[in-house]
Protein backbone atom coordinates (compact mmCIF):
# COMPACT_ATOMS: atom_id res chain seq x y z
CA UNK A 1 0.00 0.00 0.00
CA UNK A 2 1.19 3.46 -0.81
CA UNK A 3 -0.36 6.86 -0.62
CA UNK A 4 -0.87 8.80 -3.80
CA UNK A 5 1.01 12.09 -3.77
CA UNK A 6 -0.33 13.37 -7.06
CA UNK A 7 -2.21 12.06 -10.06
CA UNK A 8 -2.45 14.50 -12.89
CA UNK A 9 -3.72 14.49 -16.40
CA UNK A 10 -0.81 15.22 -18.70
CA UNK A 11 -2.74 15.46 -21.91
CA UNK A 12 -5.45 13.57 -23.78
CA UNK A 13 -5.58 10.20 -22.05
CA UNK A 14 -2.19 10.33 -20.36
CA UNK A 15 -1.82 10.60 -16.62
CA UNK A 16 1.21 10.94 -14.38
CA UNK A 17 0.86 9.46 -10.92
CA UNK A 18 3.29 9.77 -8.05
CA UNK A 19 2.98 7.56 -4.99
CA UNK A 20 4.75 7.33 -1.68
CA UNK A 21 6.80 4.16 -1.71
CA UNK A 22 10.05 2.91 -0.23
CA UNK A 23 11.68 1.31 -3.18
CA UNK A 24 14.81 0.38 -5.01
CA UNK A 25 13.12 0.30 -8.40
CA UNK A 26 15.40 0.32 -11.41
CA UNK A 27 14.76 1.60 -14.93
CA UNK A 28 12.56 -0.72 -16.99
CA UNK A 29 11.00 -2.47 -14.04
CA UNK A 30 7.26 -2.35 -13.39
CA UNK A 31 4.72 -2.54 -10.61
CA UNK A 32 1.40 -4.35 -10.48
CA UNK A 33 -1.03 -1.57 -9.58
CA UNK A 34 -4.40 -2.06 -7.96
CA UNK A 35 -6.78 0.44 -6.45
CA UNK A 36 -9.89 -1.70 -6.21
CA UNK A 37 -11.07 -4.73 -4.36
CA UNK A 38 -12.10 -7.71 -6.47
CA UNK A 39 -13.43 -6.05 -9.61
CA UNK A 40 -11.74 -6.02 -12.10
CA UNK A 41 -9.96 -9.25 -11.23
CA UNK A 42 -6.43 -8.51 -12.38
CA UNK A 43 -3.93 -5.88 -11.25
CA UNK A 44 -2.39 -3.68 -13.95
CA UNK A 45 1.31 -3.82 -14.86
CA UNK A 46 2.71 -0.29 -15.24
CA UNK A 47 6.36 0.64 -15.78
CA UNK A 48 8.36 2.84 -13.48
CA UNK A 49 8.51 6.28 -15.04
CA UNK A 50 10.64 7.76 -12.31
CA UNK A 51 11.67 6.83 -8.79
CA UNK A 52 13.55 8.08 -5.78
CA UNK A 53 13.97 6.49 -2.35
CA UNK A 54 10.61 7.63 -1.09
CA UNK A 55 8.40 7.65 -4.14
CA UNK A 56 7.76 6.13 -7.48
CA UNK A 57 5.88 7.59 -10.43
CA UNK A 58 4.01 6.17 -13.37
CA UNK A 59 3.03 7.53 -16.74
CA UNK A 60 -0.04 5.72 -17.97
CA UNK A 61 -2.62 5.93 -20.66
CA UNK A 62 -6.30 5.37 -20.00
CA UNK A 63 -7.32 2.33 -22.04
CA UNK A 64 -10.02 0.39 -20.22
CA UNK A 65 -11.52 -0.24 -16.81
CA UNK A 66 -8.33 -0.52 -14.80
CA UNK A 67 -6.52 2.56 -16.02
CA UNK A 68 -9.82 4.45 -15.84
CA UNK A 69 -10.07 3.62 -12.16
CA UNK A 70 -6.44 4.64 -11.66
CA UNK A 71 -7.12 7.98 -13.34
CA UNK A 72 -9.93 8.74 -10.90
CA UNK A 73 -7.73 8.45 -7.82
CA UNK A 74 -6.97 11.62 -5.95
CA UNK A 75 -3.97 12.65 -3.92
CA UNK A 76 -4.18 11.01 -0.51
CA UNK A 77 -5.91 7.87 -1.76
CA UNK A 78 -4.32 4.49 -1.09
CA UNK A 79 -3.08 2.26 -3.84
CA UNK A 80 -1.55 -1.20 -3.79
CA UNK A 81 1.86 -1.13 -5.42
CA UNK A 82 3.21 -4.60 -5.83
CA UNK A 83 6.76 -4.55 -7.09
CA UNK A 84 9.12 -3.60 -8.45
CA UNK A 85 9.12 -6.60 -10.77
CA UNK A 86 11.21 -7.69 -13.71
CA UNK A 87 14.76 -7.35 -14.84
CA UNK A 88 14.69 -3.80 -16.16
CA UNK A 89 17.06 -2.30 -18.72
CA UNK A 90 20.69 -3.45 -18.58
CA UNK A 91 23.43 -1.22 -17.21
CA UNK A 92 25.36 -0.73 -20.47
CA UNK A 93 28.63 0.27 -18.77
CA UNK A 94 31.20 1.34 -21.35
CA UNK A 95 28.69 2.23 -24.06
CA UNK A 96 29.27 5.75 -25.29
CA UNK A 97 26.16 6.46 -27.36
CA UNK A 98 22.79 5.11 -26.29
CA UNK A 99 19.47 5.52 -28.07
CA UNK A 100 16.14 5.12 -26.31
CA UNK A 101 13.21 4.67 -28.69
CA UNK A 102 9.64 4.88 -27.44
CA UNK A 103 6.26 4.79 -29.11
CA UNK A 104 3.04 5.94 -27.45
CA UNK A 105 2.91 5.17 -23.77
CA UNK A 106 6.01 3.04 -24.37
CA UNK A 107 7.95 6.21 -23.72
CA UNK A 108 7.22 5.72 -20.00
CA UNK A 109 10.20 3.60 -18.92
CA UNK A 110 12.63 5.64 -21.00
CA UNK A 111 12.56 8.60 -18.65
CA UNK A 112 14.22 6.81 -15.75
CA UNK A 113 16.44 4.98 -18.24
CA UNK A 114 17.81 8.27 -19.60
CA UNK A 115 18.32 9.60 -16.08
CA UNK A 116 20.06 6.43 -14.96
CA UNK A 117 22.39 6.17 -17.94
CA UNK A 118 23.40 9.79 -17.55
CA UNK A 119 23.91 9.44 -13.82
CA UNK A 120 26.02 6.33 -14.23
CA UNK A 121 28.32 8.02 -16.71
CA UNK A 122 28.06 11.76 -17.41
CA UNK A 123 30.16 11.25 -20.55
CA UNK A 124 27.62 9.01 -22.21
CA UNK A 125 25.41 10.47 -24.94
CA UNK A 126 21.76 9.56 -24.50
CA UNK A 127 19.37 10.34 -27.34
CA UNK A 128 15.66 9.82 -26.86
CA UNK A 129 13.33 9.18 -29.80
CA UNK A 130 9.68 9.67 -29.00
CA UNK A 131 6.89 8.70 -31.37
CA UNK A 132 3.32 9.89 -30.93
CA UNK A 133 0.18 9.37 -32.91
CA UNK A 134 -1.47 12.40 -31.28
CA UNK A 135 -0.16 15.41 -29.38
CA UNK A 136 3.37 14.88 -28.03
CA UNK A 137 3.72 15.04 -24.26
CA UNK A 138 6.41 15.66 -21.67
CA UNK A 139 9.00 16.75 -24.24
CA UNK A 140 10.56 19.31 -21.90
CA UNK A 141 10.84 16.70 -19.17
CA UNK A 142 12.67 14.30 -21.46
CA UNK A 143 14.91 17.10 -22.72
CA UNK A 144 15.98 17.73 -19.15
CA UNK A 145 17.34 14.20 -18.79
CA UNK A 146 18.69 13.42 -22.28
CA UNK A 147 21.18 14.92 -24.68
CA UNK A 148 18.87 14.98 -27.64
CA UNK A 149 15.15 14.42 -27.91
CA UNK A 150 13.81 13.61 -31.34
CA UNK A 151 10.04 13.77 -31.62
CA UNK A 152 7.93 12.20 -34.33
CA UNK A 153 4.23 12.91 -34.56
CA UNK A 154 1.99 10.84 -36.75
CA UNK A 155 4.80 9.08 -38.59
CA UNK A 156 7.19 6.24 -37.79
CA UNK A 157 9.73 7.11 -35.13
CA UNK A 158 11.78 4.20 -36.40
CA UNK A 159 12.41 6.22 -39.59
CA UNK A 160 14.22 8.90 -37.60
CA UNK A 161 16.96 6.80 -36.11
CA UNK A 162 20.11 5.52 -37.69
CA UNK A 163 20.94 2.47 -35.59
CA UNK A 164 24.55 2.56 -36.72
CA UNK A 165 25.07 5.79 -34.78
CA UNK A 166 24.72 4.00 -31.47
CA UNK A 167 26.48 1.53 -29.21
CA UNK A 168 23.24 0.32 -27.66
CA UNK A 169 19.52 0.84 -28.22
CA UNK A 170 16.61 0.31 -25.85
CA UNK A 171 13.04 0.39 -27.07
CA UNK A 172 9.54 0.17 -25.67
CA UNK A 173 6.30 0.54 -27.56
CA UNK A 174 3.85 -1.33 -29.75
CA UNK A 175 5.12 -4.77 -30.75
CA UNK A 176 5.05 -3.87 -34.39
CA UNK A 177 7.21 -0.77 -33.82
CA UNK A 178 9.80 -2.77 -31.91
CA UNK A 179 9.85 -5.39 -34.60
CA UNK A 180 10.33 -2.83 -37.34
CA UNK A 181 13.22 -1.35 -35.38
CA UNK A 182 14.77 -4.78 -34.94
CA UNK A 183 14.53 -5.41 -38.67
CA UNK A 184 15.98 -2.02 -39.47
CA UNK A 185 18.95 -2.77 -37.19
CA UNK A 186 19.45 -6.06 -39.02
CA UNK A 187 19.15 -4.44 -42.41
CA UNK A 188 21.61 -1.65 -41.78
CA UNK A 189 23.94 -4.07 -40.04
CA UNK A 190 23.94 -2.20 -36.76
CA UNK A 191 26.30 -3.66 -34.20
CA UNK A 192 24.51 -2.06 -31.27
CA UNK A 193 22.56 -4.55 -29.19
CA UNK A 194 18.82 -3.80 -29.24
CA UNK A 195 16.92 -4.23 -25.99
CA UNK A 196 13.14 -4.51 -26.27
CA UNK A 197 10.68 -4.17 -23.41
CA UNK A 198 7.73 -6.52 -23.92
CA UNK A 199 4.16 -5.84 -22.84
CA UNK A 200 2.51 -9.26 -22.68
CA UNK A 201 -0.69 -9.53 -20.72
CA UNK A 202 -0.12 -10.62 -17.13
CA UNK A 203 -1.99 -12.26 -14.29
CA UNK A 204 0.33 -12.90 -11.33
CA UNK A 205 3.18 -10.60 -12.34
CA UNK A 206 5.65 -12.68 -10.34
CA UNK A 207 6.39 -15.75 -12.43
CA UNK A 208 3.87 -18.19 -11.01
CA UNK A 209 1.20 -18.56 -13.70
CA UNK A 210 2.86 -18.69 -17.14
CA UNK A 211 0.32 -16.48 -18.87
CA UNK A 212 2.88 -13.88 -19.94
CA UNK A 213 5.15 -16.35 -21.69
CA UNK A 214 7.20 -15.02 -24.56
CA UNK A 215 8.64 -17.57 -26.94
CA UNK A 216 12.29 -16.64 -27.47
CA UNK A 217 15.24 -18.21 -29.19
CA UNK A 218 16.37 -19.24 -25.72
CA UNK A 219 13.11 -21.04 -25.02
CA UNK A 220 10.02 -19.85 -23.21
CA UNK A 221 10.59 -16.84 -21.00
CA UNK A 222 8.34 -15.19 -18.45
CA UNK A 223 7.97 -11.55 -19.37
CA UNK A 224 7.17 -10.64 -15.77
CA UNK A 225 10.20 -12.31 -14.28
CA UNK A 226 12.80 -13.00 -16.95
CA UNK A 227 11.77 -9.78 -18.73
CA UNK A 228 10.19 -7.46 -19.54
CA UNK A 229 13.47 -6.56 -21.26
CA UNK A 230 14.95 -8.99 -23.77
CA UNK A 231 17.40 -8.77 -26.60
CA UNK A 232 15.55 -8.02 -29.83
CA UNK A 233 17.28 -10.97 -31.42
CA UNK A 234 15.89 -13.34 -28.77
CA UNK A 235 12.33 -12.23 -29.44
CA UNK A 236 12.26 -11.34 -33.12
CA UNK A 237 15.28 -13.26 -34.30
CA UNK A 238 13.68 -16.50 -35.31
CA UNK A 239 10.17 -15.53 -36.17
Amino acid sequence: MGKILSNQKVDQDFFLMKAEQDNDARMGQFYMLRAWDTYPVLSRPISVFDADEKSVSFLYKVIGKGTKLLSELEAGAEITLDGPHGNGFPELAGKKKIALVGGGVGIAPLFLAAKTYKAADPEVQVDVYLGFSGEPILIEEYKAVADNVIVNVGGFVTDDINPCDYDAICTCGPGIMMKVLYEKCQKVGATAPLYVSMENRMACGIGACLVCTCKTSGGNKKVCKDGPVFLGSEVFGNE
Binding site: R34, T38, Y39, P40, V41, L42, S43, T80, D82, R201, M202, A203, C204, I206, G207, A208, C209, L210, V211, C212, T213, K215, N220, K225
Partner: protein, 301 residues
Protein backbone atom coordinates in the same frame (compact mmCIF):
# COMPACT_ATOMS: atom_id res chain seq x y z
CA UNK B 1 -2.80 -20.74 15.10
CA UNK B 2 -4.91 -23.27 16.97
CA UNK B 3 -5.67 -26.76 15.74
CA UNK B 4 -9.21 -25.85 14.74
CA UNK B 5 -8.38 -25.95 11.07
CA UNK B 6 -6.64 -29.33 11.16
CA UNK B 7 -8.08 -31.52 8.46
CA UNK B 8 -7.58 -35.08 7.35
CA UNK B 9 -8.14 -35.79 3.69
CA UNK B 10 -8.01 -39.42 2.66
CA UNK B 11 -5.65 -40.11 5.52
CA UNK B 12 -3.37 -37.18 4.69
CA UNK B 13 -3.01 -34.58 7.44
CA UNK B 14 -3.44 -30.92 6.48
CA UNK B 15 -2.61 -28.29 9.07
CA UNK B 16 -5.41 -26.30 7.49
CA UNK B 17 -7.68 -27.02 4.54
CA UNK B 18 -6.34 -24.26 2.30
CA UNK B 19 -4.41 -25.34 -0.78
CA UNK B 20 -3.15 -23.27 -3.70
CA UNK B 21 -4.67 -24.46 -6.97
CA UNK B 22 -2.65 -25.91 -9.80
CA UNK B 23 -1.36 -23.44 -12.35
CA UNK B 24 -1.78 -20.38 -10.19
CA UNK B 25 1.22 -20.84 -7.89
CA UNK B 26 3.95 -22.38 -10.03
CA UNK B 27 5.88 -24.74 -7.79
CA UNK B 28 5.65 -22.43 -4.81
CA UNK B 29 8.95 -20.61 -5.03
CA UNK B 30 7.72 -17.22 -6.17
CA UNK B 31 4.94 -17.04 -3.60
CA UNK B 32 7.32 -18.11 -0.88
CA UNK B 33 8.87 -14.69 -1.26
CA UNK B 34 5.53 -13.11 -0.31
CA UNK B 35 4.73 -15.30 2.65
CA UNK B 36 5.97 -18.46 4.26
CA UNK B 37 4.28 -21.14 2.17
CA UNK B 38 4.52 -23.48 5.15
CA UNK B 39 1.51 -21.63 6.50
CA UNK B 40 -0.54 -23.24 3.74
CA UNK B 41 -2.32 -26.53 4.13
CA UNK B 42 -0.94 -27.59 0.79
CA UNK B 43 0.12 -26.62 -2.67
CA UNK B 44 -0.77 -28.09 -6.06
CA UNK B 45 1.98 -27.90 -8.60
CA UNK B 46 1.50 -26.52 -12.08
CA UNK B 47 0.10 -29.30 -14.27
CA UNK B 48 2.93 -31.55 -15.44
CA UNK B 49 3.22 -33.60 -18.58
CA UNK B 50 5.68 -36.39 -19.07
CA UNK B 51 7.64 -34.17 -21.44
CA UNK B 52 8.34 -30.45 -21.31
CA UNK B 53 5.76 -28.49 -23.26
CA UNK B 54 5.76 -24.94 -24.53
CA UNK B 55 2.06 -24.31 -24.14
CA UNK B 56 -0.24 -22.34 -26.38
CA UNK B 57 0.61 -19.50 -28.72
CA UNK B 58 -1.18 -16.19 -28.76
CA UNK B 59 -2.92 -14.41 -25.95
CA UNK B 60 -3.15 -16.53 -22.82
CA UNK B 61 -5.19 -14.39 -20.47
CA UNK B 62 -8.33 -12.30 -20.87
CA UNK B 63 -10.40 -10.53 -18.32
CA UNK B 64 -14.16 -11.04 -18.09
CA UNK B 65 -16.73 -9.66 -15.65
CA UNK B 66 -15.53 -11.00 -12.28
CA UNK B 67 -13.51 -13.68 -14.01
CA UNK B 68 -10.54 -14.46 -16.19
CA UNK B 69 -10.08 -16.79 -19.09
CA UNK B 70 -6.77 -18.55 -19.54
CA UNK B 71 -5.24 -20.60 -22.26
CA UNK B 72 -1.83 -21.55 -20.96
CA UNK B 73 -2.13 -24.99 -22.48
CA UNK B 74 -0.07 -26.93 -19.98
CA UNK B 75 3.23 -25.18 -20.50
CA UNK B 76 5.46 -27.08 -18.12
CA UNK B 77 9.02 -28.26 -17.64
CA UNK B 78 8.15 -31.96 -17.83
CA UNK B 79 8.13 -34.48 -15.00
CA UNK B 80 11.89 -35.10 -15.04
CA UNK B 81 12.85 -31.46 -14.71
CA UNK B 82 10.27 -31.02 -11.97
CA UNK B 83 11.68 -33.96 -10.05
CA UNK B 84 15.17 -32.67 -10.48
CA UNK B 85 14.65 -29.00 -9.71
CA UNK B 86 11.58 -28.55 -7.54
CA UNK B 87 10.40 -31.74 -5.89
CA UNK B 88 12.92 -31.89 -3.06
CA UNK B 89 12.45 -28.26 -2.27
CA UNK B 90 8.68 -28.70 -1.91
CA UNK B 91 8.97 -31.98 -0.05
CA UNK B 92 11.18 -30.31 2.52
CA UNK B 93 8.48 -27.77 3.22
CA UNK B 94 6.00 -28.59 5.91
CA UNK B 95 2.86 -28.66 3.78
CA UNK B 96 0.97 -31.20 1.71
CA UNK B 97 2.67 -31.57 -1.63
CA UNK B 98 0.11 -32.21 -4.33
CA UNK B 99 1.44 -32.91 -7.79
CA UNK B 100 -0.87 -32.24 -10.73
CA UNK B 101 -0.44 -34.55 -13.71
CA UNK B 102 -1.88 -34.03 -17.18
CA UNK B 103 -1.50 -35.79 -20.48
CA UNK B 104 -2.12 -35.57 -24.21
CA UNK B 105 -2.78 -39.31 -24.50
CA UNK B 106 -3.25 -42.29 -22.25
CA UNK B 107 0.38 -43.26 -22.80
CA UNK B 108 1.44 -39.77 -21.72
CA UNK B 109 -0.46 -40.06 -18.49
CA UNK B 110 0.87 -43.51 -17.75
CA UNK B 111 4.47 -42.63 -18.47
CA UNK B 112 4.24 -39.49 -16.37
CA UNK B 113 2.69 -41.56 -13.63
CA UNK B 114 5.43 -44.16 -13.74
CA UNK B 115 8.05 -41.51 -13.25
CA UNK B 116 6.16 -39.95 -10.37
CA UNK B 117 5.76 -43.38 -8.80
CA UNK B 118 9.52 -43.39 -8.29
CA UNK B 119 9.48 -40.35 -6.03
CA UNK B 120 7.88 -39.11 -2.86
CA UNK B 121 4.93 -36.79 -2.87
CA UNK B 122 1.76 -36.58 -0.81
CA UNK B 123 -1.08 -36.60 -3.30
CA UNK B 124 -1.28 -37.07 -7.03
CA UNK B 125 -3.94 -34.86 -8.61
CA UNK B 126 -4.94 -36.35 -11.93
CA UNK B 127 -6.00 -33.58 -14.27
CA UNK B 128 -8.49 -34.92 -16.79
CA UNK B 129 -10.13 -31.56 -17.06
CA UNK B 130 -7.79 -29.07 -18.71
CA UNK B 131 -9.81 -27.35 -21.45
CA UNK B 132 -6.78 -25.78 -23.08
CA UNK B 133 -5.16 -28.61 -24.93
CA UNK B 134 -6.31 -29.87 -28.29
CA UNK B 135 -5.82 -33.50 -27.50
CA UNK B 136 -6.10 -35.08 -24.10
CA UNK B 137 -6.93 -32.96 -21.08
CA UNK B 138 -10.64 -32.32 -20.79
CA UNK B 139 -11.42 -34.69 -23.61
CA UNK B 140 -10.75 -37.46 -21.14
CA UNK B 141 -12.96 -35.88 -18.56
CA UNK B 142 -16.35 -35.12 -20.09
CA UNK B 143 -17.82 -38.57 -20.60
CA UNK B 144 -17.91 -40.84 -17.60
CA UNK B 145 -17.07 -44.02 -19.46
CA UNK B 146 -14.18 -42.46 -21.36
CA UNK B 147 -12.80 -41.08 -18.12
CA UNK B 148 -13.17 -44.45 -16.45
CA UNK B 149 -10.52 -45.96 -18.64
CA UNK B 150 -7.86 -43.49 -17.70
CA UNK B 151 -8.77 -43.39 -14.02
CA UNK B 152 -8.68 -47.18 -13.86
CA UNK B 153 -5.32 -47.43 -15.57
CA UNK B 154 -3.77 -44.75 -13.43
CA UNK B 155 -5.22 -46.24 -10.26
CA UNK B 156 -3.76 -49.61 -11.15
CA UNK B 157 -0.25 -48.30 -11.17
CA UNK B 158 -0.38 -45.20 -8.95
CA UNK B 159 1.24 -45.86 -5.58
CA UNK B 160 0.32 -42.42 -4.24
CA UNK B 161 -2.93 -41.09 -2.89
CA UNK B 162 -4.95 -40.31 -5.97
CA UNK B 163 -7.31 -37.36 -6.38
CA UNK B 164 -9.05 -36.89 -9.72
CA UNK B 165 -9.66 -33.30 -10.80
CA UNK B 166 -13.03 -32.99 -12.48
CA UNK B 167 -14.22 -30.73 -15.22
CA UNK B 168 -17.36 -28.62 -14.85
CA UNK B 169 -17.81 -29.24 -18.56
CA UNK B 170 -18.43 -32.91 -17.84
CA UNK B 171 -21.74 -34.26 -19.07
CA UNK B 172 -22.61 -35.39 -15.58
CA UNK B 173 -20.16 -34.42 -12.89
CA UNK B 174 -21.92 -36.50 -10.26
CA UNK B 175 -21.67 -39.69 -12.26
CA UNK B 176 -18.04 -38.85 -13.01
CA UNK B 177 -17.30 -38.52 -9.30
CA UNK B 178 -19.07 -41.77 -8.53
CA UNK B 179 -17.03 -43.48 -11.18
CA UNK B 180 -13.84 -42.20 -9.54
CA UNK B 181 -15.00 -43.59 -6.24
CA UNK B 182 -15.79 -46.94 -7.86
CA UNK B 183 -12.39 -47.04 -9.47
CA UNK B 184 -10.65 -46.50 -6.16
CA UNK B 185 -9.69 -42.84 -6.26
CA UNK B 186 -8.92 -41.46 -2.80
CA UNK B 187 -10.75 -38.25 -3.52
CA UNK B 188 -11.90 -35.83 -6.19
CA UNK B 189 -11.24 -32.15 -6.70
CA UNK B 190 -13.56 -29.80 -8.54
CA UNK B 191 -13.90 -27.68 -10.44
CA UNK B 192 -11.39 -26.96 -13.12
CA UNK B 193 -12.17 -24.05 -15.45
CA UNK B 194 -15.35 -23.64 -17.51
CA UNK B 195 -15.03 -23.80 -21.26
CA UNK B 196 -15.73 -20.30 -22.51
CA UNK B 197 -15.17 -17.97 -25.43
CA UNK B 198 -14.06 -14.41 -26.00
CA UNK B 199 -14.12 -12.44 -29.22
CA UNK B 200 -11.87 -9.56 -30.17
CA UNK B 201 -14.28 -7.15 -31.84
CA UNK B 202 -11.54 -5.07 -33.40
CA UNK B 203 -9.90 -8.04 -35.04
CA UNK B 204 -13.17 -9.92 -35.64
CA UNK B 205 -11.40 -13.01 -34.38
CA UNK B 206 -11.55 -15.19 -31.31
CA UNK B 207 -9.20 -13.80 -28.67
CA UNK B 208 -7.60 -17.18 -28.16
CA UNK B 209 -5.83 -19.17 -30.82
CA UNK B 210 -7.74 -22.24 -29.59
CA UNK B 211 -11.03 -20.32 -29.90
CA UNK B 212 -12.15 -21.51 -26.45
CA UNK B 213 -10.39 -21.12 -23.12
CA UNK B 214 -11.02 -21.76 -19.44
CA UNK B 215 -13.04 -19.40 -17.25
CA UNK B 216 -12.18 -19.09 -13.55
CA UNK B 217 -12.61 -16.63 -10.71
CA UNK B 218 -15.51 -15.22 -8.67
CA UNK B 219 -17.88 -15.32 -11.66
CA UNK B 220 -18.04 -19.12 -11.54
CA UNK B 221 -18.20 -19.54 -7.79
CA UNK B 222 -21.97 -20.05 -7.54
CA UNK B 223 -21.85 -22.86 -10.12
CA UNK B 224 -18.77 -24.50 -8.64
CA UNK B 225 -20.33 -24.39 -5.19
CA UNK B 226 -23.43 -26.13 -6.52
CA UNK B 227 -21.31 -28.86 -8.11
CA UNK B 228 -19.27 -29.37 -4.96
CA UNK B 229 -22.49 -29.68 -2.99
CA UNK B 230 -23.91 -32.22 -5.43
CA UNK B 231 -20.76 -34.29 -5.57
CA UNK B 232 -20.04 -34.25 -1.83
CA UNK B 233 -23.50 -35.60 -1.18
CA UNK B 234 -23.15 -38.33 -3.78
CA UNK B 235 -19.81 -39.91 -2.90
CA UNK B 236 -18.09 -41.11 0.24
CA UNK B 237 -14.59 -40.13 -0.77
CA UNK B 238 -13.49 -36.63 0.28
CA UNK B 239 -13.80 -33.63 -1.99
CA UNK B 240 -11.45 -30.71 -2.62
CA UNK B 241 -13.65 -27.78 -3.56
CA UNK B 242 -12.58 -24.86 -5.70
CA UNK B 243 -13.80 -22.33 -8.19
CA UNK B 244 -13.76 -18.62 -7.49
CA UNK B 245 -12.89 -18.80 -3.80
CA UNK B 246 -11.71 -15.30 -2.88
CA UNK B 247 -12.65 -14.75 0.75
CA UNK B 248 -12.79 -16.78 3.93
CA UNK B 249 -16.56 -16.64 3.61
CA UNK B 250 -16.35 -18.37 0.24
CA UNK B 251 -14.08 -20.99 1.77
CA UNK B 252 -16.44 -21.66 4.67
CA UNK B 253 -19.34 -21.97 2.24
CA UNK B 254 -17.51 -24.67 0.30
CA UNK B 255 -16.75 -26.49 3.54
CA UNK B 256 -20.40 -26.26 4.61
CA UNK B 257 -21.39 -27.56 1.19
CA UNK B 258 -19.25 -30.63 1.87
CA UNK B 259 -15.67 -29.95 0.75
CA UNK B 260 -12.95 -31.31 3.01
CA UNK B 261 -10.19 -29.18 1.54
CA UNK B 262 -10.54 -26.02 -0.53
CA UNK B 263 -8.24 -24.63 -3.19
CA UNK B 264 -7.54 -21.03 -4.05
CA UNK B 265 -6.65 -20.22 -7.65
CA UNK B 266 -7.45 -16.97 -9.43
CA UNK B 267 -7.73 -15.04 -6.16
CA UNK B 268 -3.95 -15.24 -5.74
CA UNK B 269 -3.72 -12.92 -8.74
CA UNK B 270 -5.68 -10.29 -6.83
CA UNK B 271 -3.33 -10.43 -3.88
CA UNK B 272 -0.44 -12.87 -3.76
CA UNK B 273 -0.98 -13.69 -0.08
CA UNK B 274 -4.79 -13.76 -0.18
CA UNK B 275 -4.65 -17.38 0.98
CA UNK B 276 -3.24 -16.13 4.29
CA UNK B 277 -6.25 -13.85 4.72
CA UNK B 278 -8.49 -16.80 3.98
CA UNK B 279 -6.78 -19.00 6.58
CA UNK B 280 -6.89 -16.28 9.22
CA UNK B 281 -10.53 -15.52 8.45
CA UNK B 282 -11.55 -19.15 8.69
CA UNK B 283 -9.74 -19.56 12.00
CA UNK B 284 -11.43 -16.46 13.37
CA UNK B 285 -14.83 -17.56 12.14
CA UNK B 286 -14.53 -20.87 13.95
CA UNK B 287 -13.30 -19.17 17.09
CA UNK B 288 -16.02 -16.49 17.06
CA UNK B 289 -18.68 -19.12 16.54
CA UNK B 290 -17.39 -21.44 19.23
CA UNK B 291 -16.38 -24.31 17.00
CA UNK B 292 -13.49 -26.41 18.24
CA UNK B 293 -12.90 -27.96 14.85
CA UNK B 294 -13.78 -27.30 11.28
CA UNK B 295 -15.24 -30.80 11.26
CA UNK B 296 -18.25 -29.35 13.03
CA UNK B 297 -19.36 -27.37 10.01
CA UNK B 298 -18.29 -29.71 7.23
CA UNK B 299 -21.16 -30.70 5.02
CA UNK B 300 -23.80 -29.23 7.30
CA UNK B 301 -25.72 -27.96 4.30
Amino acid sequence: MSSRLKTTFAGVEFKNPVVLASGTCGFGRELNEYFDIERLGGLCSKGLLEHPHGGNDGIRIWETPSGIMNSVGLENPGVDAFIEKDLDWINQKNLVNIVNLGGHSIEDYLKGMEKLNQVDLDILELNISCPNVKSGGMNFGTKTEVAREIVRKIREICRHKLVVKLSPNAEDIVSLAKMCEEEGADGVSLTNTFLAMAIDLQKKKPVFNNTYAGLSGPAIKPIALRMVHQVSHAVNIPVMGLGGITTWQDAIEFIMAGATVIQVGTATFMKPDISMDIIDGMEKYLEDNGYESIEEIRGII
